[in-house]
């Protein structure tokens, strides 16, 4: 992760606000988005305009099917010619029964190449970097991952927060909202009046810090310290 390539992740519970956030980000010129969802969703697809670039899997499917059919033709015809023996008084190369073999080969190779196309196109195996992924994305949360310059971090964070994100992570580190911190400071000043509340907030702080600490340990990343200083 180079310095110019910062990753900021917003986690959402609701699809409609997520879609609004995507639209806003794209309007602001941030096109390097990756949206996570537990379920395929047309609104997200539309917001991302994925229809512009249709999936290339169809080429895999088509070529695989044609190849399979050709394999079927060659297999049956060539082996029959290789050892010509008349069975049931039928021609050596009898097309009607071979159609069945050709059909099965077409389906077999076409299907397997579709599977290959899926693995290659969706970059399933390639994409193994300790990316910003949250385990809740397979449960009930949605996420937007924006890849951007360090200068844009704050702007993107504001957009994400304006559209009601649950939380923001920068390069894998949970980022506490600035406003919340201010409130906490105020609360500290009014310690005498609201002791109990302060205690709670403190506990929260400790928890959040612990989280930060955990992530820090997991990713020995020079960028993290920078972020924390923010």
């Amino acid at each position: 992760m180079s310095k110019s390539n910062q990753n900021i992740l917003g986690i959402y519970t609701y699809v409609d606000v997520l879609v609004d956030a995507i639209k806003k980000l794209r309007a602001e010129g941030f096109e390097n988005l990756r949206v996570f969802s537990p379920v395929p969703n047309h609104e997200i697809e539309d917001a991302l305009d994925t229809g512009k670039e249709p999936s290339k899997i169809k080429y895999f499917t088509f070529c695989g099917a044609i190849l399979g059919a050709l394999v079927g033709v060659c297999f049956t015809v060539l082996t029959s010619i290789d050892w010509p023996i008349v069975t049931s008084a039928k021609p050596i190369v009898s097309i009607p029964p071979y159609m069945i073999i050709i059909f099965e080969c077409m389906i077999l190779i076409g299907g397997l190449s579709t599977f290959l196309g899926l693995i290659i196109n969706s970059r399933l195996r390639k994409d193994t970097s300790p990316e910003l992924y949250d385990e809740r994305f397979s449960d009930n949360k949605f996420g937007i991952l924006v890849n951007c310059n360090p200068d844009d971090l704050e702007k993107i964070e504001n957009i994400l927060r304006d559209f009601g994100t649950d939380e923001v992570q920068v390069n894998g580190v949970l980022k506490v909202e600035a406003k919340e911190e201010e409130i906490k400071e105020e609360a500290k000043e009014e310690e005498i009046k609201e002791e109990a509340k302060v205690e709670e907030v403190k506990e929260e702080e400790v928890k959040e810090e612990a989280k930060v600490e955990e992530v820090k340990e997991e990713e020995a990343n020079p960028d993290i310290t920078e972020v924390k200083n923010d």
């Binding site: 537990p38 999936s55 077999l108 299907g111 579709t114 599977f115 397979s138 009930n140």
Partner: protein, 450 residues
Amino acid sequence: MSNFDSLSASEKYSHLNETVMNMLNKPGWGWWAIFAVDMMFLAFGIYCFIYQIYTGLGVAGYSHPVLWGVYITNFVFWVGIAHSGTLISAVLFLFRARFRMSIYRIAEAMTVFAVATAGLFPIIHLGRPWNFYWLLPYPNQRGLWVNFDSPLLWDVFAVSTYATISSVFFFIGMIPDIAAIRDTVVGKAKKVFYSVASLGWKGSSWEWGHYTRAYFYFACFATPLVISVHSVVSWDFAMANTPGWHTTIFPPYFVAGAIFSGLAMVITLCIPLRYIFKLEDYITMDNFDGMSKMIILTSSIVFYAYLIEFFIAWYSGNKYEYDQFIYRAVGDYALFYWIMMFCNGIVPHLLWFKKIRQNLMILFIITLLINIGMWFERFNIIVISLSKEFEPGSWGLYKPSWVEIGITVGSFAWFFMFFLIFVRTLPALSIAEIKEILPVPKKNGGSSHE
């Protein structure tokens, strides 16, 4: 039920994940007990097979003129069971039938395991099963190739293609769900297993984009495949000139019969599973209703085929054909014939009544009867036709031996072994697809179906 309905859309998503994770918990004594009993039956089946190999095919009941007995009956039966899984996962997917979502994983698993069971029988019924690979076309020292004009070879291609494609289809469908398990599962070994199996799935928009396309193409391939496979199986019979086999109605009749028996088997499996794992929120009465209606449809097609066969036997003026069908109805095997007629033709029509469709106990019994009826259908086609062919001098009767029955019971145990392991290791409900039919979590304007 009402509890589930009161959850918010987002909570429902989580509830679904939890439900599936609960199914993967460490199995209790109940599961182990069932598994142990299952293993006992399987062991007996394996013993019978080994006994048959050592002693020779004589211990199996089939001999001249009935040289295809219970083993080929089982083969056709299990291939038939497999078909409805693909129907539910592929054909109903193309038709956008929403009731398929929560049951299709179970149906697909059933497909894969049923094909794995069916594939054993052509090998078991060989006198020298270790030479089964002679059926495969491979370059050999004799320079011979297989006979591509033979329906038995079409079977080899059709069934092995079907096994491969349905397994891959099964796996593709599970990728996002395995990823969901990976994200919550505890324990290092399990984590590694599910991580590898999920192929690094993250659920990002481009993954979904390619995934839904690939799934669609797979469904397009699987749909004609499922029709071709059972047509090919029917040609094993229809290509021969044996009375009772040599008819053009066989492919559609077999395909309808396969889907009919498979649907019954899906219901047979779903009802106890739903009860044991408390899946009432997901496998709803609507699912059973939809499947029951399809049973009525396919049962009607099958019953029509039974009747039209009689008509054509008479109308064709072919004495052998005509006598064959009269023999089926009143001859030595008449009991099995009428069991078939009753279970496949009459009983399913009880499902026209909504009250019966909604009563799971009765539905369960009906589907069991259909399974029995469909097994006897194959038995009747194979055995009755072979026992009385053209030459009265070569007529003969067939009775299954204890070895054949043992292996048949073993095949059921073999199928259920896979199924029992499946419900404890892999997501039996399709997490991602059920989320598609659950309301989408929305902040403004409540929640909606997209």
